[in-house]
Structures are given as structure tokens and as C-alpha cells.
Subunit: 120 residues, 2 copies
Amino acid sequence: MLCHMENHAPNLDTAFHALADPTRRAILGRLVRGPTAVSAPAQPFAIGLPAFVKHLRVVERDGLITSEKSGRVRTCRMNAPQLVAAETWLARQRSLWQASADRLDDYVETQMPTGPDDAQ
Amino acid sequence: MLCHMENHAPNLDTAFHALADPTRRAILGRLVRGPTAVSAPAQPFAIGLPAFVKHLRVVERDGLITSEKSGRVRTCRMNAPQLVAAETWLARQRSLWQASADRLDDYVETQMPTGPDDAQ
């Protein structure tokens, strides 16, 4: 049985760990389109159900999805704050990198010797 | 010695693997501000140089940074396409999730029984 987890505070270590595998990313790629029963997401994958459930457990333990059992059906859904936290961290780094690259461009431009065209 | 790697095609498995550790994220947080010599990034971290170099090797093997040796100094720099690929994947998932959440809102609104205010 998959363990049931409540939503919890975003954790970048576990968020990125869950994302470092193609099957786990495919599970998330399915769940961003809406909640689904456990048996359903296994169908498009060329792996057996036990292997699939193992991946699902990792994604849930890592806090990117939650699951809830109602009768005999377990439904999985995205835990969006984890996804958003990971994206926000990356966007911030890319923004800093871009600012640094822009400063380098500015520096190169101001340090360039004037060419023949400029001297005319 | 750190192995020297050329820039390579983005790989989401290794990109997210590199990001799943706070020291490795801190290394990237330093390198987005510009290239730096190997000894320099170790200074703000409360870990020994051997542990630091081990983390650096993982980040390089995972393709998020490259390094180049000139004389006795090894300089590390971001491999931006890896960072951008990871961010782009996450942004796409968040966008799909948002669209799905918006559709659910629309559905709930159209299915809601009209309240007393609407009936007036």
C-alpha cells in the first residue's frame, strides 16, 4: 500500500531527487493534467506494475504527489507547491546568471578599442 | 584532478540529480554569478576541501558546470543550457497544472447551483 502523505513544506532536496528519473517525470507529466487513480497512470509505461508502484512511492515520499484511498481506489494528485518551489529556485538562478552574462557583455563593450568605422 | 568536460546536450536526469543536494545547489548559486577558481567557491562552505571537491565533481559529471585548467588554477563555470533545460521542463509542467486547475475552476463555476442572489 502506498503511504498517505499530507501536503508539507517544499523541500528542494527531495523535489529535485524525484525529478531525476524519466519514469518519475512521466508520472508527474500525467498528474499535472489532473488527479488519477493508481492503476491508470501505469498504462502508458512499458514497465510492470511493481516497478511502477516503486517509482510512485518515491515521488510521493519526495513530496511531489499525494495519494488518498477511497474504498479500493487510491487516487494520486500533484503537490503543486513542491513543483513551484523547484521552478522558482531554478528561475532565480537563471536570472542571476543572465544578469552576470549581461554585465560581462557591458564590460566587453566598454573595453573594446574603437574600430576604423568609429574613427571616421 | 577534476575531469574536464565539454558542454554537452542537456540531460534532465543528471541536471535534477545534481540539484538534489544543498552543497551542490550552493556551488551553482555561486557560479551563476560568474566563473571562479576551484579554491574560491570552497571558502563559504563549512565542509573540508575533499568533501567540497567531491560535490564539485558530481556537479561537473552531471553537466551543470564545466571546468578548465590553466597552469595550476582550475576555473569552473556554469553550463547554462543544463540549467535552462531543467527550468523549461518545470515551467511547462507548472503551466499544464495551472491550465488543469483553471479548467476545474470553470467546471465548478458552471455546475454550481444558482444561489439566492442569482435568483432575485
